[in-house]
Amino acid sequence: MLKGLVEHIGLEPGRLQFSWISSAESTKYIEVAQSVARNVEALGPATRLVKRRAEVG
């Protein structure tokens, strides 16, 4: 439901991912980490829900 809400307000699908990896699943960990990195690289730098400096004025 959190993913649904965050994507509903406009976060790009793919930027927020969930996985369950046991400490014994090192290969799965590598696979997931690499694919998350690929997805995020494809999306480019995050601009939403990122605060670089306060935009108050």
């Binding site: 439901m1 809400l5 976060l11 790009e12 939403r48 829900l49």
Partner: protein, 316 residues
Amino acid sequence: MHQYTAKIREIAKRLLESKEVDVFIGYRKGSVAMMNEPVLIREPGKVGLLHWDSNCGLNLCNYLTRRTGRIGIVANGCNSRNIVTHIVENQIKREQLYIVGIPCTGVIDHRGVQRAVHPREIVDVEDEGDSFVVKGKDFREVFKKKDFLRTNCSVCRHRNPVLFDEMVADPVEEQKEVHPYADVESIEKMDPEKKWAFFSQLISKCIRCYACRNACPLCYCPTCFVDESKPQWVGKSIDPTDTMTFHFLRAYHCAGRCTDCGACERVCPVGISMRQFTKKLNKDAEAYFGWEAGLRSEERPPLDVYRPDDYNDFVR
């Protein structure tokens, strides 16, 4: 006088005189038109303050949280569902309560009424059957109530209380053929850029007053995440990112708990439709768990319990 008002006063008087309850929680007419306010009555002589009409838009459940003693309370559909939620979340015990059920036909959107008679000043608004009369210094206009319902009331599917000890009148007919999530669906169809633009625009006027949180019966934490400073979960400025973080996190805290009572929108001083956040969660709770908040007190809410068949397609 609305027929419910007389009945509420009669019941409150009886309960207070017989000492069945220590306090009776209801509404009284506000000093400003359409702004009925909560009132706590302890003496039978003061029941004349109690009032009911189509402007009782605040949620009385806020006054139940961890209260001791015996309490009488008026509750329409959504308020009664919040009472159930309070019971489920151990904020009040069922035995403490005497619930006076209100078959509700909806609350008027006060902003819509103000727009309709703009720029004239409204002095009083009174119910008259299916209509209501707006009175000012030198005008009197009658409007149909169904044209001015709050958006949550116009798609309400639970007008009658789900939990009560006594009703003030016979149940009203529930609205069928309503599409409560039509607006959510239209946003779901947008691409991420449009969604982000929509929600950024939606909250752009937010002044971070937290009235929405204060009016919400679900927000009863002793210290809210927005007020905490060690650690500071969310920036306190009106920076757009801080504001967006506040709104989506506040909404998420209501996931599977929100009854769409509309108190948050009603109290917003700048008229933000923050129900767009909670409605998405309500829609998903219904789609994934077949759950509408506050209908059943014997079942744990979906986000409170693990079931082997919980949907988990999003987890790798």
